[in-house]
């Protein structure tokens, strides 16, 4: 007994001292909530087993969007990790408000054959958006040839990719993983880093993982979204290439919203163009109808107007 105490007492003493030191310098909420940036995607524990199998770990769920941004033909798989018990605040028009500690994950990959989209996947990069106490932080991870893990990159890199398209034609190109500083090229609202696709209208659809259930309804049922009205009252972005989801005009506006409106909106990085293609825009002049281009430079290619209705060949767009 005496021997045990001889060893135990110093240990207990040290533990008590540590507790006192900790009590003297308590962690601030910001330190407590911060998600540390890791060197590899595997360090976050976002997936079970091989990352490339994309099986979400506990607390991570997959989501899909109605109309995706075109990213050099890449396939994309999207996930959200929420801290235990955390909630997402519903918003009918703006971005859904994710809690501090949330991580949005997006894999970029190319199936060898686009007719077999689940086989022989070549991963290029995985991007994370982490909701830190002070705002969103963007991190980019590049995959290497071993296709086991992805490593944090600040500078970006290029890598060759090849694929066979749905019509059987072979393609190849140099894929560019952008440097971190370029994230704000798109993820910017008046200088603040923000997510882009996390809106109710984008998530209002059946999910790849939940083909029989609307993604938002699933989140509502699991208590993650609590303040959402009935799903019939939630706005829905059409799927640009699915005529059953909207007429040509609304599907065109959906495509323009996602592919152009991220920057071309009153608070985006292209706001000086005064040419706004976000889904909320209703002013015909701001939508570019018979509007002269501003700050388009040579991109305007000597054409006079942003958009001329009914004349897809003559305006700049």
């Amino acid at each position: 007994m005496r021997t045990i105490l001889k060893y135990l007492l110093p240990v207990l003493g040290s533990a008590a001292l540590l507790c006192m030191l900790n009590a003297a310098k308590p962690l601030t909420p910001a330190q407590y909530m911060r998600v540390a940036a890791h060197q590899n995607i595997s360090d976050y524990g976002l997936f079970e087993g091989m990352i490339r199998n994309m099986k979400p770990a506990k607390g991570v769920f997959r989501y899909d969007v109605n109309t995706a941004l075109f990213s050099d033909y890449a396939y994309k798989a999207r996930f959200i990790k929420l801290p235990d018990g955390a909630k997402i605040a519903y918003d009918p028009a703006q971005l859904l408000e994710l809690p501090v500690g949330a991580i949005i994950v997006k894999h970029f990959y190319y199936p060898a054959d686009f007719n077999k989209p689940a086989e022989k996947l070549h991963f290029t990069e995985t991007r994370l958006l982490i909701r830190q106490p002070e705002g969103w932080e963007a991190l980019t991870y590049a995959w290497d040839e071993s296709q086991v893990d992805a490593t944090l990159t600040n500078m970006g890199s290029t890598m060759p990719v090849e694929w066979v398209d749905a019509q059987g034609y072979k393609h190849g190109m140099k894929y560019q993983v952008p440097p971190r500083a370029m994230c704000k090229g798109c993820h910017d609202r008046q200088g603040k880093m923000v997510p882009v696709g996390i809106t109710a209208r984008q998530l209002n659809r059946m999910g790849a993982e939940t083909p029989a259930q609307n993604q938002l309804v699933a989140l509502q049922k699991s208590g993650i979204i609590t303040d959402m009205p009935h799903i019939s009252q939630v706005p829905r972005l059409p799927v640009w290439d699915d005529p059953t989801t909207g007429d040509l005009d609304t599907r065109a506006r959906a495509w323009l919203d996602v592919n152009c409106g991220t920057c071309h909106n009153p608070e985006g990085t292209a706001n000086i163009s005064a040419f706004y293609l976000d889904i909320q825009q209703t002013d015909p002049n701001m939508l570019g109808l018979y509007k002269r281009p501003l700050f388009a430079g040579r991109a305007a290619a000597d054409l006079t107007y942003d958009i001329v209705p009914g004349r897809p060949d003559s305006p700049i767009l």
Binding site: D43, N154, K174, Q176, K184, T269, I272
Partner: protein
């Protein structure tokens, strides 16, 4: 494993020293070294750019940097060449940066814009040159400041821009001093910016020396002082794309002011412009010139004081809608004024050739009488509120 930026800084520095020593004069690998340094740069640090020509394959993007200095060996010595840029078109961008100094380098042959400042605060550019060798492929903007506050451009140069050598758009508190712009469509353009001072600059051999333009967007263009500049022979053929607003401005104009408010132009040398030394216009008058515009904003509170004029408006060649209009109304001269604008104050030498155009419907009336505009000018600081 925890991400430890300090170890990266150290490693990058060692790499930098090694490669810099090994490749001095060639600089072929400088891009990689510089990108690595940039990705870990911290407040208070200075990055140096060696002398010589350094080719860049990717644009330089700097986001969120605070209190850093990037120093080259001088605009004639440290040259970053973007002719072979592989993606995007812009050479260099600062976004959401503050208290940054960039000095002593040249940015050459960017496929699109040279140096863009977006959502920045307190940026100093000193001894920086943006240039294009070939104007058939040149980018639109040399230094392009957007939505930024507190921008100082001193001792810089821009040459060959297809829209403007220097431009401030939706900015506040901007100073251009002792800088030069040449062979560009517009030397310095101020578009929907407030509290701007252009002082001691040389604008020579552009299509338009300085343009102050209220573009049709919801942001004012006002409180601008143009003081003590040399604005000479800006008769370069306008080579902006046809779609560009600037294409309609033509060429041969020293200072063009469209729908700007509270502007003082004082103690400048303005000489040798084919069409006009200074042309004050408003969007409604542009519409009467056949220039398409949707803006109704008028120019107002204009002051022209103690400028030196020589040989302006002697050879209007009728290029662009503006030139055609002025030539057809015999309105070329030192100061051309669209008198639909309220408040115009002139205190110039009697030899100043003045034309006031009254563009009221239905006709256009011309007067060369300056007397009714003579007044006591306001102190500069009351006008620019800087």
């Amino acid at each position: 494993m925890m991400f430890r930026p300090l170890s990266h800084v150290y490693l990058s520095f060692v790499l930098f020293c090694f490669t810099y020593t090994a490749t001095r004069g060639q600089n072929a690998v400088f891009e990689q070294v510089f990108s690595a340094r940039l990705s870990t740069v911290a407040t208070g640090q200075t990055l140096t750019i060696p002398p010589g020509v350094s080719p860049f394959k990717q644009g330089v993007w700097i986001d969120g940097a605070k209190g850093i200095t990037i120093t080259g060996a001088g605009m004639g010595s440290s040259i970053l060449d973007f002719s072979a840029l592989q993606s995007g078109g812009q050479a260099w961008q600062f976004s959401t940066c503050s208290h940054v100094i960039l000095e002593g380098l040249t940015i050459r042959n960017a496929p699109a814009d040279g140096l863009r400042l977006q959502n920045c605060e307190n940026i100093t550019l000193r001894d920086v040159r943006i240039e294009w060798a070939d104007r058939t492929t040149s980018g639109s903007y040399g230094v392009f400041a957007i939505n930024s506050k507190g921008v100082v451009v001193e001792g810089c140069e821009a040459s060959g821009a297809a829209h403007s050598g220097f431009v401030a758009v939706r900015c506040e508190n901007v100073i251009f001093s002792n800088s030069k712009a040449m062979k560009s469509v517009i030397g310095i353009a101020i578009e929907n910016a407030i509290r701007v001072r252009i002082q001691g600059c040389t604008l020579e051999n552009n299509s338009i020396g300085i343009a102050l333009v209220h573009l049709p967007m919801p942001a004012p263009c006002q409180n601008i002082a143009i003081m003590g500049n040399t604005i000479r022979k800006n008769n370069f053929r306008n080579f902006s794309p046809e779609s560009d607003f600037a294409n309609g401005y033509g060429d041969g104009i020293g200072v063009l002011c469209i729908s700007a408010d509270s502007v003082i132009i004082s103690q400048n040398t303005i000489e040798g412009h084919n069409t006009a030394g200074i042309f004050f216009a408003s969007h409604p008058s542009l519409a009467r010139m056949g220039l398409k515009t949707s803006d109704k904003t008028m120019t107002s509170r204009l002051f022209c004081v103690d400028n030196g004029y020589d040989r302006n408006g002697k050879n209007p060649d009728g290029q662009g809608a503006m030139g055609i209009f002025l030539k057809s109304h015999d309105a070329a001269g030192d100061i051309v004024y669209d008198s639909t604008s309220p408040t115009m104050c002139i205190r110039e030498s009697p030899t100043c050739v003045f034309s006031a155009l009254s563009m009221q419907q239905p006709g256009i009336f011309l007067s060369h009488d300056m007397a009714s505009f003579v007044c006591a000018p306001m102190p500069v600081n009351n006008i620019i509120k800087q």
